[in-house]
Structure formats: C-alpha cells, structure tokens
C-alpha cells in the first residue's frame, strides 16, 4: 500500500462531501434563516447534533441504516449490491451527515446577518426571488459560504470514528487518512505515521490561517 493512496482518497471524499453539502446545505440554511415556522429550531437542532454526538453514535446508526436491513441496503440493491457499508458511497453519506453543521451554520448566520432590507430592495426592483437569491443574497453571504466550505472540507478530512465503524478499511475505497495513521501507529510504523500526521497538522494549520486572512480581506472589501 502506498502512503499516497489514503491521502488522495481522503481529498476525494472531502471534496465530494463539501460539494454535496453546499448544494443541500444552502437551501436548509436559507430556510433556517428566513422561515418563521415554529418547528424551525427543532430542525436546526437536528442539523447541529453531530457537533455533540460521539462519532460512534453516528457510526452505529449508519451501520444499521446502510446495512441490508436498512434503507441503504434497499438503495444498494438498485445496483445489485447488498449494503452501503464498506463502500465509498457509504462514506460520502456518513460524511455529509457528520459535517453538515459545519457548513449549514456559517451560511445560516451569513443569511441572517444580511437582514431583510437588501432582499426587499431587490423585490421592489422586480427581481424574481431566484434571481434575487443568486445576485443579492449569495454574494452578500459569501463569507459564510467560504467559511462553511472550508470547515466542512477540513472536518471531513479528519473524520475517524464514523469511518472506522462503517468503512471496513479497504485500501483505495474506504481506507482514509485518519484510519491509515491509526494503522501505522498500531503496527509501530512510526515513520509513515509521522509523515501523515505531520502533513495533516501542517494542512490544518494552513487551512485555518488562510481562512482567517481571506476573512479579513473580504471584510475589508465589504465597506
């Protein structure tokens, strides 16, 4: 097994997860920010659950849901498989749930901070809601999108507990970075462990630093 395989796999997983989360997280964040529904906060709570739930809890339920008796098994049967556990697709589903709060929360905050006025102004200028959403709401909330995307990506990169429970440690499919590091440590291959762990440390530091710098710049641009 090469040391790069888990790195590439993890980057692939994190990119795909982030893309999916931006697609489905944006409408959720919009609804949470704008809706007056009384059960809104209950939905917000469900979205935020992975922040406090142990990954093992999520891993356990996913194992049930993805397995042959769960909906994941039914889904897998569409292309003749029995279970979504031990598949890359299964990891994507797990990561989307696991990293959702990190994407939805910043975007929701950004939408809320924008307030109603730009939105109303757009409406008086005869912009259709969809048009106004993409030309007014999204650009104004770009900071939230950036934060959400970066946090979601970084959080998925570091996912461990969930993957350990539903992955099955298959090289090239489910053996992600954190699991590879774990294996190297267990088998006393310190050199490889150091390489990957050190790389991860540098990556995380760089990501957060870059994000702070960008935030500053965007903040300045918005005067």
């Amino acid at each position: 097994m090469t040391i790069w395989q888990p790195v590439l796999l993890t980057l692939e997983l994190a990119s795909l997860t982030t893309a999916i989360l931006l697609l489905i997280g944006t409408p959720i964040a919009w609804w949470l920010a704008r809706s007056g529904a009384w059960w809104k906060e209950a939905v917000a709570t469900v979205v935020a659950l992975p922040l406090v739930l142990p990954p093992t809890v999520l891993g356990f339920y996913l194992l049930m849901l993805l397995g042959p008796q769960g909906p994941g098994g039914w889904l897998a049967s569409l292309w003749g498989a029995r279970s979504l556990a031990f598949t890359f697709e299964g990891l994507v589903i797990g990561s989307v749930l696991y990293s959702m709060p990190f994407v939805v929360q910043p975007i929701r905050n950004a939408f809320e901070a924008t307030g109603d006025r730009p939105w109303e102004a757009a409406a008086t200028l005869r912009a259709s809601p969809l048009d106004a959403f993409f030309t007014v709401a999204v650009p104004l909330a770009r900071r939230g999108f950036l934060t959400g995307a970066v946090l979601g990506f970084a959080h998925t990169m570091g996912e461990f507990g969930v993957v350990l429970m539903i992955g099955g440690n298959i090289p090239g499919k489910t053996k992600v970075l954190s699991v590879a590091i774990y294996d190297y440590v267990e088998t006393l291959q310190w050199t490889e462990a150091h390489l990957l762990a050190g790389g991860m440390l540098v990556f995380s530091f760089t990501v957060i630093l870059a994000m702070m710098m960008l935030e500053k710049r965007i903040g300045r641009d918005r005067t």
Binding site: L63, M64, L66, G67, P68, Q69, G73, A81, R82, S83, A85, F86, L164, G168, N169, I170, D183, V185, E186, T187, L188
Partner: protein
Amino acid sequence: MKTLLLSAVLLLSVTPAALAGETNVAVAANFTEPAKEIAKAFEAKTGHKAVLSFGATGQFYAQIRQEAPFTVFLAADDETPRKAVEAGLAVADSRFTYAIGRLVLWSREAGEVGGEDTLRQGGFEKIAIANPALAPYGAAAVQAMKKMGVYDALQPKIVQGNTIAQTFQFVDTGNAEVGFVALSQVIAKNQGSYWPVPDLLHDPIRQDAVLLKKGAGDEAARAFLAFLKGPEAAAVIAKYGYGAAVAN
C-alpha cells in the same frame, strides 16, 4: 462494637490476602466472553477485582509501550507477549499459553456456510476478516485462504474489521454475509452456520498471557494469572471452544 472493630483490624492485619486489590487486564477481543466469566469467578473466589479492557492485540502492545496502566496482558497470539518480554515491558518467566484459538468461517444465516465450498464458490458480496496486521485471527484467515488457493479470487470482497470483535459485528449486522471469526464468538452467539477451518491451513493461534512490568509487584495481577492456569478457568476456556495448551 469496640471488640468488633478490634477483631476486624486484627483480621485484616493477619490476612493481607483478604485485602482485595483491583488490577487492570488487557484482553484480546476474541477472548471477551470467556474473560468476563473467568473474572467473575476469580472475584468470587479471591475477592480481587480484575478490570477488563478489550481490544486488538497490536493496539494494546502499542499502548503498553507507551506506559498504559495494564498489569496483565492476554494476547491473541504468542508473538506479541514474546516481544513484550524482549522489550523489557513484561516479566520474563511469566509467559504461558492460556488457550489455542480456533478459526471458523461464520454466517448469521443458517445454511449459508456449508464448508470450504462456500469459499471456493464465493457466492457472497463481502467477506469480513480482522485486520491481518493487527489481529492474529486475521493473519490466520489470510493464511488459510492462501493455502486453499482462493485468496486472489476473494481479495476484492474482503472487508477488514479493526478487531475480531468488529469483524464479528460486520457479519452479525449482515453488512458482510460471511466472515472469519473465533469459534468462541460463534458459541456465545449460538446462531447461524459455520465451518471450522482445519488447523493445518494455518499456524496454530497460540494465545499467550504475560505479567506486565507494571504488575510485577501487584498481588491481584499474579493471583489472576494463577487463576487463569487453574481448573475453573480451564473449564470456561474449553466451554468456549478453545483448545487447551498442551505444553508450555
């Protein structure tokens, strides 16, 4: 009241063995059920309490090297305890084989596993094994498949559990149809169908116990190892389908 207290103090000072100690035992995942039973009997008999931690043998070894607070180590192989002695982490003359592990191919469904034909036909989507780098049962499973000449055909279907316990759980939840697990787990579960892998297909899984350096002065730890060699423990070990160690 006073005399009662006095006699209690006297009693305690006369019989130090009655002072119950707690000792931390690291147990390989495959031995989970028998270890629980043995610990219970041990406590009933001696008053000492064995606090059990379950995990992968390789994982425990990595932790013991980093000063983990275990006094006794029940491994799933003989290699790791030997390494522990060589590295000065365990007491030299304390190592002995407490059980011989039995590898089986198991499915939760009755009639799913017929015998070695199940492996030759490969009529399943996923086969679970324990991580061969960490768990001796996993290494034995790979060895057996290679000896049968089915390893290359089955490799794309292999999923790895971190321990033999997780491997069992993969099969038990139906996420993998079949898997190589320990006979003890199947006996404890008492469900499905299994094929005992013939001993000649893999090296014997000799499971060794060792007294760790941290337990050298620990009376409860020594008592636990002594109990593990005794007849009560032997009965439990046999009940769970382990072979008895012939000669150490």
